[in-house]
């Protein structure tokens, strides 16, 4: 069941569009912000609230890189694997994360501290290589810098 808060926040988005369905991305993000991911149950509740079929909403939810249909760890690392970062050292960061955390793309550490996902160009190419952790962008990274960054997410 959606919480009263979730429902209220979603309802507040609806008047910005002429059709309820248009608020579905906002709704998915509102629920995911609180629960970390979108379960089948959340999907059903949102679809019902917005007058969509389950399949319509799942087609949208699975289309987007930032909507998670599987549980994730407490912090999500989005490592840019696009071309500018690739040229200047993306694979060193990926290798460091693999060694340090024991996870590759799509995996979560056993203590559920981190999930590692690839992300397309983050639009900070003059400071490549870059990654995001949760809502924060980290730029100009090398393995030592990345190590310091990881320490600040417990």
């Amino acid at each position: 069941m959606l919480s009263a808060d979730e429902r209220r926040e979603i309802e507040a988005e609806i008047p910005r569009y002429p059709q309820r369905q248009a608020a579905c991305i906002d709704a998915l993000k509102i629920v995911q912000r609180r629960r970390g991911w979108i379960s089948d149950e959340s999907l059903r509740d949102i679809a019902e609230l917005l007058g969509m079929t389950l399949d319509e909403l799942d087609a949208v939810a699975t289309f987007y890189n930032l909507i998670y249909r599987h549980p994730v760890g407490r912090h999500v690392i989005l490592l840019c694997n696009s071309v500018s970062c690739w040229i200047v050292g993306y694979s060193r960061l990926r290798e460091h994360l693999r060694r340090r955390l024991g996870i590759d793309f799509g995996e979560t550490t056993p203590d559920r501290r981190f999930t590692l996902l690839p992300i397309v160009c983050l639009g900070a190419c003059d400071h490549a290589p870059v990654l995001m952790i949760d809502q924060d962008l980290h730029r100009d990274l090398d393995p030592a810098g990345l190590e310091r960054v990881l320490e600040s997410y417990r």
Partner: protein, 437 residues
């Protein structure tokens, strides 16, 4: 350089904070919309047409001409919509981020002017979800603009009524495609739409709609303030205005610069990006993001504008260059690009979902040392298969631009991968095969 020669970035705060509404107005902000409200919509469209402004999202379509297809007057369908395309996801592109984060009011004023020109009542800023700081700053700017009465109705003492909403997306390259963006805003998968009907007559929720890039919109206040002739005079070669140029890759000073449209490629590379890092040579570059054809060192005199880059066999695109050095594998680079496009394809039409993944797998085989001469023919064939006219939208045609030009310019590298049965850039002290530095 005279400050009015870099209108978009002239008033940026040195501390990187966003200009507040009072700060923006002290620098002359919101004069353009006041001026525009004294003009008829048709007059604004004519002014923008005369200015020579072309879309900065990559396609370079003339902005005034684009608007001219929107039905005007009391008989036009209502409401009409405007969407600012702030879904900056073209790999290697980081120009709109600066405008969004540093001068959100400049974008809002540009949106007001565009909305006035097409008589739109409702506008959205369609922002990619990863631009968290930009979202905060646009939200604050919107709150300031509503509080000042500049949005919401009867604004500026005139018959001007506009609502602007911020829509933050959830990450998919296809959302930046004009009709994909419309579907995304309607809460559907961001598949492209067949054209016609064009968005100008039947767009968002079936109503007349203009989708316009952030940088394009930011030019509008200045065109209204200083005139079409002034804007044309800023360009050094065939096209008008200034351009936010950028460079990434192994140059000494990667960065972003507002410069006259038509600044020569070599000047950008040497004077602004500082040239190549020590010990590296320029091998080639993508002039405007991932979906543009490679240019090579013999193109350094090319003026970086829409007209001249096209003459040189590529596209200006977003104007943010991705630099390939002589120690980085061109085949590996194109593999990375095609992997991106294959992943981001919406799957709607066959050349794209099938062809791009096929190309990616062939390029992966080259990097593993398993490429064959016959694969080169297959890649050529995929390039033809994905040509404009064979697909619903521009994703696949754009995706094969770097591939087709790489096959042409770096043919010897493809052959070396076949001959040596490995990536020649792999291993060794300075090679850069899989993105290692």
């Amino acid at each position: 350089m005279h400050p009015d020669q870099r209108p978009l970035t002239r008033d940026l705060r040195p501390d990187g904070e966003a200009l507040s509404l009072p700060g923006y107005e002290r620098a002359g902000g919101y004069q353009g919309i006041r001026q525009a409200l004294r003009l008829a919509p048709q007059e604004i469209i004519q002014l923008v047409t005369r200015s020579g402004l072309r879309g900065r999202g990559g396609a370079g379509f003339p902005t005034g001409q684009k608007w001219s297809f929107v039905p005007l007057g009391p008989a036009a369908p209502r409401p009409k919509y405007l969407a600012a395309n702030a879904d900056e996801m073209e790999p290697g592109t980081f120009k709109d981020r600066l405008l969004l984060e540093a001068t959100p009011h400049q974008l809002l004023e540009g949106m007001m002017i565009a909305a006035r020109a097409i008589e739109a009542e409702i506008a959205y800023v369609f922002l990619r979800g990863e631009y968290v700081l930009a979202a905060q700053r646009i939200q604050r700017a919107l709150a300031e603009a509503y509080a000042a009465g500049y949005l919401g109705g009867h604004s500026f003492g005139a018959d001007f009524s506009l609502q602007i909403y911020l829509h933050t997306s959830a990450g998919r390259y296809m959302c930046g495609e004009e009709t994909g963006l419309l579907n995304a805003l309607e809460g559907k998968r961001a598949n492209p739409r067949a054209k016609p009907p064009y968005p100008q007559t039947s767009g968002l929720f079936g109503k007349p709609t203009i989708v316009q890039n952030v940088e394009t919109l930011c030019c509008l206040p200045h065109i209204v303030n200083h005139g079409a002739e002034w804007f044309r005079s800023l360009g050094l070669a065939a096209d008008a205005g200034t351009k936010l140029y950028g460079a990434s890759g192994k140059v000494k000073r990667p960065g972003l610069w507002e410069l006259p449209m038509g600044t020569p490629l070599g000047v950008l590379l040497e004077e602004h990006a500082g040239g190549m890092r020590d010990g590296l040579k320029l091998r080639g570059l993508l002039p405007g993001g991932a979906s543009t054809d490679f240019l090579t060192p013999r193109h350094l005199d090319v003026p970086m504008d829409f007209t001249n880059v096209e003459k040189a066999g590529s596209r200006l695109g977003t104007g943010t260059m991705i630099i390939l050095d002589d120690r980085t594998c061109p085949v590996g680079m194109v593999w990375n690009l095609e992997d991106f496009f294959a992943q981001e394809s919406c799957g709607w039409c066959t050349p794209c979902w099938s062809g791009l993944r096929w190309a990616e797998r062939i390029l992966a085989a080259f990097e593993r040392g398993q490429g064959a001469e016959s694969d080169l023919e297959k890649l050529d064939w995929i390039v033809k298969f994905c040509a404009p006219g064979n697909t619903f939208c521009a994703l696949a045609p754009g995706a094969v631009e770097p591939l087709s030009s790489a096959l042409r310019y770096f043919h010897d590298d493809f052959l070396a991968h076949i001959r040596e049965r490995r990536c020649p850039y792999r291993g060794g002290s300075n090679g850069n095969a899989g993105g290692e530095s």
